[in-house]
Symmetry: C2
Subunit: 217 residues, 2 copies
DNA sequence: GTAAAATTTTAGATTAGTCTAAAAAATAAT
DNA sequence: ATTATTTTTTAGACTAATCTAAAATTTTAC
């Protein structure tokens, strides 16, 4: 149905739209896909023809219900493969995203169901991101990035951004993994750096880092 | 280096050339790739430019040492993935070839080494075909198709052709699996059907079947 | 050893995905 | 409310992979 390239565009649109909540503009998609606006316009016409998005000229695109399901299937595959690579093959969590970008396009419903079973039906991937089930159902709990928290906040790390290997290596070093408890001790006005407690261990993190750690109350 | 399509052509050339032993003609490749001779000519020019084959106009192509290594790496991936699907995910041996055709093009040296380790460095795939090691080394023992055997021959099934799902289901039913002992009892001149003993169980097989079972002495 | 047949290559087109440069539309500024 | 700026779309061109039809070459037949 969708080509590899079309799947990647649709996935990016889904993410940029916050799961289908808002419209996505041409330039935003061009940045996300590391391509030019003209190429994006061409592609969104194709995706629109395939009825996975709706397109209003000059006003961006929206994901259709059909498109949302398709995007969630690609995301399901991506996250199941990342889980496989870490849990079964012993990859580090910063090494899996690139490979999963390839594996997510393997087309075999039977394979992905068998893989899900083999992994024990995991609920989240190695970075804490929820894995949609075989119907595309995904459990989203409201996650807040650390840089938006008040001083004194206490909670648990839910997930971290998975696409930057160096960030993940650093997060691993300071113990910032999904499930670990976190508390905000202080915030520096000047550079928005923060002092936080990660599993009772005190660390200072820059805004670049605090934006990429997501917590739940 | 090579595109997915180029990898598929190179693999087909390698197989048709009997592991690099003989030249491959345009039409033979067109049949194998299910495409037209004109398309093959275009592609072999590209593969020739990338120095994985040598090309003499009107006289076919030969695999270079570099091309042989690249072909063996694709075959290595294909057979490791088939082994994974059967041994770890519980696929039947007739269900894996199509999926492996996709998975063989995933590009990640680390992934394939980890997978090899996870599978316990298997020597053969589910159909009995040898798996090249990480250096491309492959152990080839002279295998003979059953239809070419003399009456009275005794030996062991080494491998079976893996690309036809219905054939594999039938072979499974008559117990014709790699490792099983086999003996030729008789041969019918008219239709070249044969009477054979598979693991001491007497069966009659057509030429279409006997061609696809490979044995060692 | 020339003519017919088969094989292979070339020529010209098509589709997917991309690009640059120019035109069109929307947004911001005066 | 025009003008200027930014954003988006269109136009035209390029590469990879494919096709059909025609030309070139090799092989087979007589
Ligand atoms: Mn990822
Ligand atoms: Mn992808
Ligand atoms: Mn196979
Ligand atoms: Mn393939």
């Amino acid at each position: 149905m969708l080509s590899l390239t079309e799947e990647n565009y649709l996935k990016a649109i889904y993410h940029l739209s916050d799961g289908g909540a808002k419209a996505v503009l041409t330039n935003a998609l061009a940045v996300a896909m590391n391509t030019k606006a003209a190429s994006v316009t061409d592609m969104i016409k194709k995706l629109s023809a395939k009825e996975v998005i709706t397109y209003e000229k000059y006003y961006g695109v929206n994901v259709t219900p059909k498109g949302k399901t398709e995007a969630l299937m690609v995301i399901r595959k991506h996250r199941l493969w990342e889980t496989f690579l870490v849990d079964k093959l012993g990859f580090a969590w910063d090494e899996v995203h690139e490979v999963a970008e390839q594996l997510e396009h393997i087309n075999s419903p039977r394979l992905i169901e068998k893989l899900d079973e083999f992994l024990g039906y995991p609920k989240v991937d190695p970075h804490g991101d929820p894995i949609p089930d075989h119907k595309g159902k995904i459990k989203i709990q409201p996650q807040v990035p650390v840089d938006q928290l008040q001083i004194g906040f206490q909670g648990k790390i839910a997930a971290v951004k998975d696409s930057d290997s160096n960030l993940l290596k650093y997060l691993d070093k300071i113990g910032a993994r999904p499930g670990v408890k976190i508390k905000v001790l202080g915030k520096e006005e000047y550079d928005e750096s923060m002092e936080i407690l990660i599993d009772d261990h005190r660390v200072f993190i820059s805004k670049a880092v605090s934006q990429n750690i997501l917590v739940v109350g």
